[in-house]
C-alpha cells in the first residue's frame, strides 16, 4: 500500500511539475514574442517546451487525467479552470479599462502642487488652436517622470488641443537643434510658428511658456549706457551676454540707449535697465527717466557699492595744480573732473564725459587743457574754459592709470594696464611713430624729465617694480631697471632732471640717475608703504604713505624721522601735487577728501570733500521713490564660507512678491553689494517691498580701517555707524497712482556672465522674474503663484537629542512589542 502511494506521489509531483514547466514556457514564449516583435527561435523553443510540459502532465498519469476530466470531478475541474481564466481575463480587462478611463488622480498634497490652478485651466480653455509640446528628456533623466505627470495634467485639461511628445535630444539632434535645445529637461511649446521654452516643470514656468506662445508678445528692454554700465553685448566675465540669452527665451528683446544722445526713452520701451553705472548721471538724464516713470514706466536699477558718490568708492584718484596755481583739478571715481578755486577750495566747474571713474588729471603747460585718464580705457583731452571734450586719444585698450603733458607741451603720454606707454602729439593728437612702447608689466606711473627729453614709467606687480626710461625723440629705451621688488606706484623727477625718484608700494624709495642709468632703492618707509610721491620746484619731496599721512622731506639728506608729517586723511592717498610756487601741497585719496596743506607751516589750509556729491540718480531714487542706496559695503559673515564675506548669499525672500515667490527655497548671491533702506512712504502712493535679505550675521559697513596695500580695502570693524544686518539687498517698488514699477538691487554683478556659471544658485531666475514683473501689462497673464513651504526642522535637534530620538525610534517600539508578547506568553502559561 505504501509503495503504491509513493509511486502515486512521485507521479503526481512529476505531472504537476511538468504542467508548471509547460505553463512557464508558454509565458516565456509570449514574452519573447512581444520583446522581439515576431515569432523567433526563442519563441519556437518555448512553445515546444510548453507543449512537452502539457503533454507530460496528461500522459504521466493518463488515467488520473482522464478521471479528472470526466464525471463530476472533471466537470468541477473544467469549471474551475474556465472560471479562473475568465476571472483573470476580467480582472485584466477591468484594469485596462481603468487605465483607459484616465481618471484624474486625487491630489492630496498640502499645497495642491499636482493640481492645475484656475489660471492654467482658464488659459487652456482659451486655446484657439492646437499647441504642440515637445519635452526633450534624455532617458536617464530622473525628471522625466515628473514632467510626464505634469504635462499629462495639461494634456488632460486641454481637451485634446494640447499634445505632448517626449523626445530624446541625443537620439534626435536635428530636432533638438531646430528648437535650440541645449540640455535635457527643456520643454518647447509651439503654436503655429510661435515657440516658447520652459526649463523647469513647475506650473508657473509651464503656464508662463504657454502664455507666451499663445500671446506671442514681445517686450522691449532698453539698457541705458554712457556711465560705464554693463552691456548685453559684453561677452567677457563681467558682461551680460548670458542673461541676455535667458531674456530671449522669455520673448524679451534688449537694446542699448544713451539718453544724452536720444533725449528720450522710446515709446515701445516696456522697461529700462541701469546696470551698475560708475559715472554719475546728469540732471537731464534723470529728468527723462523721471518723465518716463511718471507715465507708468518700469525700470530696474542695479547699483554697485562705492558708486554714485559717498565714501565707499575709490574717492578722488588724481589731482593737479594749474600752472598758474589758481586752480586745482581733481579726477574722481564718480567719473567727473572737478575744478576748484585753489585759494579757498570752492568748486568752479565739473567736466563730464568719461563713462567710468577717473584715475588721473594733468594740466597742459599753458593751463588751457586738461588730459585725463580713466578705467573706461580712454585718455581724453578737455578744454578747461569750456569743459568741452577736445579729443579721445586712441591707443589704450585697458584701464589707463596716468597721463601727463610733456613740460614743453608737445607730447601727451599715458600708461595703464595694457602694458605699454602711449605717446601722442599734443596738438594733432596723433600717436608718435614709436608709440606705443611695450613693456612686460602693467604700468602705474609716468613722468617726463623737466627737459621733456625723457619719459620714465614704472609699474610691476607684487614681486617686481621695474622702471623704464625712453628717449622721447627717438623712442629708444635707455634705461630698464628692476629697481624695486614690488610695484612702483608713483615717480617724479628732481628739479634738475638728473634724478628720478620712485616710490614703491612696499615703502622703498628709488633714486635713479638718468645719465648713468644706475640707481638704488632704500627702504625709507618700509614699515608703512608708500602710495605717491611729488617733488616741488625747490626740491621738497612729499611722500604719501599708506597710513594716510603725507610726509614732507625738506632736506634731501634728511632721514624720515625729520619729516614734517601731515595727517588728515582717513584712507589711502592716491595722488599728491605741489603748487607751482611750492607753498602748498594738495593730497587726494580714497576717503573722497581733498586736503590742501601749507608746506612751510605743515598745517592744513583747507579741506574739500571732493567728489562726494550724490549722483542725481541716487538722489532721485531717494526723493521720488523713498529708496536709499546706502553708502556701504555689505559684509556677511554668516555665508562667508561659500565665497567670501563680501559676497552675501541670500535665502530669505519676500514670500508674496511674484518676483521672489518662485525662488523661496533657492539661494542667490551678490558679489560686492550695498544695502538698501526703505524710507517712510506714508505720505505717498508708493508701495515698497524688501525682496531679498541677508543673514543676521551681516552688516553694511560704512567705513574702512587701516590697510597696508592701496589696492586692497582696509580691515573693517563694526561700529555704530554701520548698518546692522539683516540688510535688504533688493527692493521692489510700485507707484499705485501712476502704475510705475521699480526694482532696485544693490549689486550688478550677480547676473554677470561669470557669476551665472554657478548653477546651483538662482540669480538668473531672480533677474528674470523681476523683469517679468516690471514688464507686466494689463494684457499679460497673471501666472499662478508658486507655493513653497519651508518644511525644515526649526529648531533643529541638537546632536545628543537627535541620537536619542533615533535610538528610541528604532528600539522603543520593538521592545514594547516584545514586552507585550512576553506578557501574553506568561499569562497563557499560567492558564495551564
Amino acid at each position: 500500500m505504501n509503495e503504491q502511494n509513493n509511486i502515486q506521489i512521485d507521479r503526481n509531483v512529476l505531472r504537476w511539475v511538468s504542467l508548471g514547466i509547460g505553463l512557464l514556457a508558454l509565458l516565456a514564449m509570449l514574452v519573447a514574442w512581444i520583446a522581439e516583435g515576431k515569432f523567433s527561435t526563442a519563441s519556437w523553443i518555448s512553445l515546444g517546451v510548453s507543449v512537452a510540459g502539457i503533454a507530460g502532465f496528461i500522459l504521466v498519469d493518463a488515467r488520473a487525467f482522464v478521471s479528472a476530466i470526466t464525471g463530476r470531478q472533471g466537470l468541477f475541474g473544467l469549471t474551475t479552470a474556465f472560471m479562473t481564466i475568465f476571472f483573470l481575463a476580467v480582472m485584466v480587462a477591468l484594469y485596462l479599462l481603468l487605465k483607459q478611463a484616465n481618471i484624474e488622480p486625487w491630489d492630496v498634497s498640502e499645497s495642491q502642487e499636482y493640481t492645475l490652478s484656475d489660471t492654467t485651466t482658464q488659459l487652456l480653455s482659451e486655446l484657439d488652436g492646437p499647441v504642440q509640446v515637445l519635452a526633450f528628456y534624455a532617458p536617464s533623466d530622473y525628471g522625466k517622470e515628473e514632467a510626464k505627470l505634469r504635462l499629462d495634467q495639461y494634456e488632460r485639461e486641454s481637451d485634446g488641443k494640447l499634445t505632448v511628445d517626449f523626445i530624446d535630444p541625443d537620439a534626435d539632434p536635428a530636432l533638438a537643434g531646430k528648437y535650440e535645445v541645449e540640455s535635457s529637461g527643456t520643454i518647447v511649446f509651439e503654436q503655429g510658428d510661435q515657440t516658447s521654452k520652459a526649463d523647469s516643470v513647475t506650473e508657473n514656468e509651464l503656464t508662463g511658456a504657454l502664455a507666451r506662445v499663445m500671446l506671442g508678445d514681445e517686450r522691449h528692454l532698453y539698457a541705458i549706457v554712457g556711465h560705464g554700465e554693463r552691456t548685453f553685448t559684453g561677452y567677457d566675465t563681467t558682461g551680460y551676454s548670458t542673461i541676455n540669452r535667458h531674456l530671449e527665451n522669455f520673448n524679451i528683446i534688449t537694446d542699448e540707449i544713451n539718453l544724452l544722445e536720444t533725449g528720450e526713452i522710446p515709446a515701445d520701451a516696456d522697461m529700462v535697465l541701469i546696470a551698475g553705472p560708475t559715472a554719475t548721471f546728469t540732471d537731464t538724464e534723470i529728468a527723462i527717466l523721471s518723465a518716463y516713470l511718471d507715465e507708468g514706466g518700469a525700470a530696474m536699477i542695479l547699483s554697485e557699492p562705492g558708486t554714485g558718490g559717498g565714501t565707499m568708492g575709490n574717492g578722488v584718484m588724481g589731482v593737479a595744480f594749474s600752472p598758474d596755481g589758481d586752480t586745482i583739478a581733481t579726477g574722481g571715481a564718480d567719473g567727473t573732473i572737478r575744478l576748484w578755486d585753489a585759494a579757498n577750495g570752492d568748486e568752479i566747474g565739473v567736466i563730464r564725459g568719461h563713462t567710468a571713474g577717473l584715475t588721473d588729471v594733468a594740466f597742459s603747460p599753458d593751463g588751457s587743457r586738461i588730459v585725463s585718464t580713466s578705467i573706461d580705457n580712454t585718455v581724453r583731452v578737455w578744454d578747461v574754459e569750456s569743459g568741452e571734450q577736445l579729443a579721445v586719444l586712441e591707443g589704450e585698450t585697458a584701464a589707463v592709470r596716468r597721463a601727463t603733458f610733456s613740460p614743453d607741451g608737445n607730447l601727451i603720454a599715458s600708461v595703464g594696464e595694457n602694458q605699454a606707454v602711449n605717446i601722442w602729439d599734443a596738438d594733432t593728437y596723433q600717436p608718435m611713430a614709436y608709440s606705443p612702447l611695450a613693456v612686460p608689466v602693467p604700468l602705474m606711473t609716468l613722468a617726463f624729465s623737466p627737459d621733456s627729453a625723457h619719459i620714465a614709467v614704472g609699474g610691476g606687480s607684487s614681486t617686481e617694480g621695474p622702471i623704464y626710461v625712453w628717449n622721447t625723440e627717438t623712442g629708444e629705451v635707455e634705461i630698464s631697471e628692476p629697481l624695486h621688488s614690488s610695484f612702483v606706484f608713483s615717480m617724479a623727477f628732481s628739479p634738475d632732471g638728473q634724478t628720478l625718484k620712485s616710490a614703491a608700494v612696499d615703502g622703498t624709495i628709488g633714486s635713479l640717475d638718468i645719465e648713468s642709468g644706475e640707481g638704488s632703492a632704500t627702504p625709507r618707509y618700509a614699515d608703512t608703504g608708500t602710495s605717491a610721491i611729488a617733488i616741488a620746484k625747490d626740491g621738497t619731496i612729499a611722500y604719501a604713505l599708506v597710513d594716510a599721512t603725507v610726509h614732507l622731506q625738506t632736506d634731501t639728506g634728511a632721514q624720515p624721522d625729520k619729516d614734517i608729517v601731515l595727517s588728515g586723511h582717513t584712507d589711502v592717498i592716491w595722488d599728491l601735487a605741489f603748487s607751482p610756487d611750492g607753498s602748498r601741497v594738495v593730497s587726494v585719496g580714497r576717503d573722497n577728501i581733498i586736503d590742501v596743506w601749507n608746506v612751510d607751516e605743515g598745517t592744513l589750509d583747507y579741506m574739500i570733500s571732493g567728489h562726494s556729491a550724490v549722483d542725481p540718480l541716487l538722489q532721485y531714487l531717494e526723493n521720488n521713490w523713498k529708496i536709499r542706496l546706502n553708502d556701504d559695503i555689505v559684509i556677511d559673515l554668516g555665508t562667508a564660507q561659500q565665497f567670501d564675506e563680501f559676497t552675501p548669499i541670500v535665502y530669505t525672500y519676500d514670500e508674496f512678491s511674484p518676483i521672489t515667490a518662485p525662488i523661496l527655497n533657492q539661494y542667490t548671491f551678490f558679489p560686492d553689494a550695498r544695502s538698501i533702506t526703505r524710507l517712510d512712504t506714508s505720505a505717498s502712493s508708493l508701495s515698497l517691498i524688501a525682496l531679498a535679505l541677508t543673514s543676521s550675521s551681516s552688516s553694511g559697513v560704512t567705513s574702512w580701517g587701516e590697510t597696508t596695500d592701496p589696492y586692497t580695502v582696509g580691515t573693517y570693524g563694526f561700529d555704530e555707524a554701520d548698518i546692522p544686518g539683516p540688510v535688504t539687498l533688493a527692493v521692489s517698488a510700485e507707484d499705485l497712482e501712476s502704475g510705475a514699477r521699480l526694482v532696485v538691487v544693490g549689486d550688478s554683478d550677480f547676473v554677470s556672465n561669470a557669476m551665472l556659471e554657478y548653477s546651483n544658485f538662482d540669480n538668473s531666475q531672480f533677474f528674470i522674474k523681476a523683469v517679468e514683473w516690471l514688464t507686466e501689462s494689463e494684457d499679460s497673464i497673471e501666472l499662478p503663484p508658486v507655493n513653497f513651504e519651508d518644511r525644515r526642522f526649526d529648531p533643529q535637534f541638537g546632536l545628543v537629542q537627535l541620537r536619542l530620538v533615533q535610538i528610541s525610534a528604532a528600539c522603543l517600539m520593538p521592545i514594547a512589542f516584545i514586552v507585550a508578547g512576553l506578557g501574553v506568553w506568561i499569562t497563557r502559561r499560567s492558564r495551564r
Partner: protein, 253 residues
C-alpha cells in the same frame, strides 16, 4: 432584501473567522517577534533618514522608511502568512472549516483580513515616526498619507499572495518559500528594468510591477486610481485563486 440577508450572513461568518484568526495571531510568540523586527527595521531606516532631515538637507518626509519596505515584505509576508491555511490542513481543523456552514471564500477572505489587520497594527504603531517629524518640522501630510496608503495596499497584496501560497500545501515551510521566492523574483525583475531597458518590455514590466505602483503612491502626494486598482486587483486575484485551491482540495484528501 434577500440579497442583503445573504450579504449579512457572509459578513457575519467572515467576522467570526476573522476575530478567531486575529486573536490566534496574538497568542503566538511569532507575531511579536515578526512585529518587533519589522518595527525595529522601520524605525531604524527612519532614524537613519532623520540626520539629513534634521540639517535641512532633505525635506521632512517618510521616504527613508518607505523605500526599503518592499524588500522587507519579501520576508515579512511569508513569515506572517505561512501557517494561515497550511496549518489547518496539518492540524486536521480543515475538516471543521470544510463542514461548517461557511463558504470557502469567506474563510479565505477572513484569514487574509486577519493577517492584514495584524500588519495594520504594526503600521499603526509606526505612526509615532511621522509624529516626530511634525514635532519639529512641517511635513506635507498628504505625502505621508499616500505613503502609508501605499504601504498598506502593498502589504495587503503580498499577504494575499502569501495566503494563496499557504493554501497550496500543508507544509508551512513550503508556503514560506513559495511566497518568498515569488516575491523575490518579482522584486528582481523590477531591479532588472533599471539595467535592461527595452522599449517593449520595460513599460509592460512597470505596469505589472508591485514596486512601481508602490513607488507611485509613496513618492508623490497623489492617489492615482490606477495604483489603487492595481493593488485591489492583485488582492482579489490571489484570494480568488486561494479560494479555488480550497475548493479543489476538497476533492482529494
Amino acid at each position: 432584501m434577500q440579497f442583503f440577508k445573504v450579504i449579512g450572513r457572509s459578513l457575519r461568518s467572515i467576522g467570526i473567522v476573522f476575530s478567531h484568526e486575529f486573536n490566534l495571531f496574538f497568542t503566538s510568540p511569532i507575531v511579536y517577534l515578526i512585529g518587533s523586527v519589522w518595527l525595529f527595521l522601520a524605525g531604524g531606516f527612519f532614524a537613519l533618514s532623520l540626520s539629513a532631515i534634521n540639517t535641512g538637507q532633505y525635506e521632512p518626509d517618510m521616504l527613508g522608511m518607505f523605500s526599503p519596505m518592499v524588500f522587507l515584505m519579501i520576508f515579512m509576508a511569508p513569515a506572517l502568512t505561512m501557517r494561515l491555511v497550511a496549518e489547518e490542513y496539518r492540524n486536521g481543523t480543515n475538516e471543521l472549516l470544510y463542514t461548517a456552514p461557511v463558504r470557502d471564500w469567506e474563510v479565505i477572505f477572513a484569514k487574509w483580513l486577519a493577517v492584514w489587520a495584524v500588519f495594520s497594527v504594526f503600521m499603526l504603531i509606526s505612526f509615532v515616526y511621522p509624529l516626530i517629524l511634525f514635532s519639529r518640522g512641517n511635513p506635507d501630510p498628504g505625502l505621508i498619507i499616500t505613503g502609508y496608503l501605499g504601504l498598506w495596499l502593498m502589504a495587503g497584496a503580498t499577504l494575499a499572495l502569501g495566503v494563496f501560497a499557504s493554501s497550496l500545501t500543508q507544509y508551512q515551510l513550503v508556503a514560506f518559500f513559495v511566497t518568498m521566492g515569488t516575491l523575490l523574483v518579482l522584486w528582481l525583475a523590477q531591479q532588472l528594468t533599471y539595467i535592461i531597458t527595452s522599449p517593449k518590455i520595460t513599460p509592460v514590466l512597470a505596469e505589472i510591477s508591485l514596486v512601481s505602483h508602490y513607488q507611485n503612491l509613496v513618492s508623490r502626494a497623489i492617489i492615482d486610481p490606477i495604483d489603487v486598482g492595481y493593488f485591489v486587483g492583485i488582492i482579489t486575484v490571489f484570494l480568488f485563486l486561494a479560494t479555488q485551491m480550497l475548493s479543489t482540495r476538497r476533492w482529494s484528501s
